[in-house]
Amino acid sequence: MNFLQLGMLLALPLAAVPVIIHLIHQQRHRTVKWAAMMFLLDAKRLNHGIDQLRQILILAMRVLALLFLIFAVSRPLVSGWLGLAMGGTPDTTLILLDRSASMEETDAASGLSKRETAVRRLVDALEKGVRAERIVLIDSALMQPVEIERAADLANLPQTGPTATRANIPALLQTAMDYIVAQKVGTAEVWLCSDMRAGDWQPENGAWESLRASARELPNLRWRLLTFPDGSPDNIGVRVESVRRRDLPGSAGSELLLDVELRRQGTGPATIPLGIVVNGVRTVSEVTISGERELIRGMAVPVGRDNANGWGMVELPADRNAMDDRAYFVFAPEVARRSVVVAEEDKLAAPVLAALRARVEPTAAYEAEFLPPARVPELDWDATMLIVWQAPLPKADSLEAKNLSQFVQSGRTVLFLPPSGPDTGSLFGLGWDDWKTAPKEDGQVSWWRTDADVLANTGDGRALPLGELKVKRLRGVSGDGVSLARSVDGGSLVIRGDVSRGSVYFCGLSPDPASTSLATDGVAFFVLLHRVLQKGVTSGALSQQWEAAVDTLSDGTWERLGSAEAAAGVERSLRAGAYRAGDRFRALNRPVEEGDPVRIDSGELGALLAGFDYRVIEGRAGEGGALANEVWRTLMILMAVALIAEAILCMPPAPDAPKRKFEHA
């Protein structure tokens, strides 16, 4: 609780005045010599009990009335509910803002989105009472702590604007905790504004355990969750799952085949006009959605033969969330899926080349080239999607290392396989351990990540046969990264490097038959290679369907297509849209997880935030209720109630019989 007139609280001792007056009144009694003591003693004896209780209640009412009055003139502010902010003023107020696309769901009456409502209420609360020496904003899109001078600035900051991104709530909390630890914040109040989408909260994320442990070590944190769990059943979101271009026979031209997904929370059949714009030309077709999810495969949109590349979007009529009403796509001619294998010996490169040349997608061209380390300068970096590096790591300051770094930064992939000789160097924070001979060949790969990344289970849910590999010798990987596979002794065998863009993988299993059966029992190896290739293709293709995120437009001069820029700077990459840089096209859309309306309930929230000192305030989009309210009116009413109660208690009891007239018998 905060007070606008804090000095008035100095008058609190005045609340004791009624008690003092009462005591003085009792001490100021005069002495009377009395004859009729028999009645007096009788009356006094009977007086105990109810009358004394009445007297105490009268005093209590008077004291309460004064207390309420003093509190009222102190103009207290109460956040959320009375007990919400009973603590003192925190040193720092951290605002963690979920800027995911789902937060753009608006209230029909006010037109305010959940994000705008959250910002408004926070500004109101911070300006009125939840004061702190420092206000820091961390938004889910940029994940950068920003110190704010005045609370009113919050509404105008680009960091509180709309995005088409997905929030990573565990990472957001971790960023906040890291900031608190780094800045040595004493007491902090953390306001987390979110719509509680399970996709953002990621209950399965392994980071929650460490977050809970961190929260227990930071007891001076008070967490306030301003949640907007309501969803609108009539809102429909659209997403383009895939785009393919094919030429029609004869001179009929070409057409685009779109796989379009519609999602909503409601049920019941509904027919909606679906607008499709290709290179600025708009067509409308009606589609019917009957369930919560409708996947329309192969929607054919004719394009001229001349339109070999371009952009487009699928749009729905405006509804509660404008952010999911448009899905952008781009198309361009397929380029060859080119891989380069840098290997010490061609016999080591052979199985890799064989796998990478296999046509997984019949319409795509697959190329793979072997280069010994000495010929790396000949490598065509721009045309290559994947580099498989089976050679000693280049020195960090070498030209090869810089080229590899730029290659990865452009979004493409490098897979490092163990060199045959000793190698003490490191690249991307990762390096090789010494070769180890396995005590037995079977079951050396004891664990690998099956839920995501390149070793994930296949589409039908089956695990890759990594456990069946025969391993004679292996080379552990050390350094910072996400371990994707481990050997029986707990060492990492496959690690994904910690890079902001592109992908770097270190695999400690060699395809050399003298080391492993990776090449001969090649299922896992084949899948691994094509998955890392696909990651590179996603970045290296001329048409790229990307999720909106930070730095998705930082690798070139990207020009927005179809409409004016909605944002500037880094914020551009957080909005959905179609962009072009030279002959490359890129569509930025909201992540697929943002279309999933599932929210975490209070039970799941309690489990996730076990150990957090948190309170939940549920809000709704457009709701104007302030988080901090002046409650002096309530206190004045309470004072009036106390005074009325005092008056009732002071009322003389039922009137006595009329005063006695002297009787004369």
């Binding site: 100021r28 002495t31 009377v32 004859a35 009729a36 007096l40 007297q55 009787e663």
Partner: protein
């Protein structure tokens, strides 16, 4: 007869002069020692005819009504009322509670004025006057006698009486009922702060002895209505015990208790045919006495 008012400050000659025009009457026949102005239960030889009765052997032939014999040929004895004097016994409560100061006057002084005036008026009309000062037993006990010298003794003792000690009124009344031999007018002046039940027995004892009992119940207005506005320390006049009472808390119960007590007293005095006068001591005592005397005089005439 000495003019007691000249020597005793509690007597006012003017008031006595005014009151002396109203006779002090007994409500029932008295048995006095000498002839007086009050009826006697026995027949006597006054001029006032009472009744006829049949002659029985042994009757005084001088009282035979010969005219009645001549008219009816039967013997009748003619009887006349006997007049006698009144024996006024003043019982004054001298317990400590009578020291209660009501404004400018103390209850015992008020009782002194009432009792002294009554004694003077009774003596003036030739009645005998006695005085009993009651606290724990009788402090003073002067049997009723006639005469100016005796009146002086009574007034002197009355003037010297002091209120002290605890109340022994009930026991004193029982004792008085036994000690006063023949019918008398017993006037009690007290605040009657005793248990009503015990008082009832005392009154009935006096009535059983055929005394004409009158009570002046001396109270003060605050004692009845308890008009205090702030906590007050009350000191018992009879025991020095002290108690602090907040009138806002205890006032109602006090008034309830007082009301019940006065109602009980009224029932008791009616049952015992006591001539009861509730007196607020702020009232002028001559008015109280005039009301008392007139009430008795009028009542007597009505009963005749």
């Amino acid at each position: 007869m000495p003019d007691g008012s000249q020597q005793h400050s509690f007597l006012d000659p003017d008031i006595l002069g005014r009151l002396s025009t109203i006779p002090l009457d007994a409500r029932r026949g008295m048995i006095g020692g000498v002839s007086g102005r009050h009826r006697s239960p026995v027949k006597g030889s006054s001029l006032e005819f009472a009744q006829y009765r049949k002659y029985v052997p042994g009757d005084d032939l001088r009282r035979m009504d010969w005219r009645a014999w001549g008219r009816s040929d039967r013997y009748y004895i003619k009887e006349f009322e006997a007049d006698t004097n009144l024996r006024l016994c003043l019982v004054v409560d001298t317990s400590g509670s009578m020291n209660y100061q009501a404004g400018s006057i103390i209850k015992i002084d008020y009782a002194r004025q009432l009792a002294g005036s009554l004694a003077f008026l009774a003596a003036r009309q030739g009645d005998a006057v006695g005085l009993y000062c009651a606290s724990q037993g009788f402090q003073k006990e002067i049997p009723p006698k006639r005469g100016g010298a005796h009146l002086k003794v009574v007034l002197d003792e009355l003037g010297a009486a002091k209120a002290s000690g605890t109340t022994g009124l009930v026991a004193a009344l029982h004792e008085a009922a036994e000690k006063i031999k023949s019918r008398a007018l017993v006037v009690i002046l007290s605040d009657l702060f005793v248990e009503p039940e015990s008082l009832k027995e005392a009154f009935q004892h006096l009535r059983f002895r055929k005394h004409d009992v009158a009570v002046f119940h001396l109270l003060e207005e605050r004692e009845i209505n308890f008009d205090f506005d702030r906590p007050t320390r009350f000191v018992d006049l009879e025991g020095n015990a002290a108690v602090v009472v907040d009138p806002s808390l205890a006032g109602r119960r006090y008034r309830d208790a007082m009301r019940r007590y006065l109602d009980e007293i009224l029932v008791i005095v009616r049952d015992a045919a006591v001539d009861y006068h509730q007196v607020v001591v702020e009232e002028k005592y001559d008015e109280v006495l005039a009301r008392f005397l007139l009430g008795r005089h009028t009542g007597l005439k009505t009963r005749r």
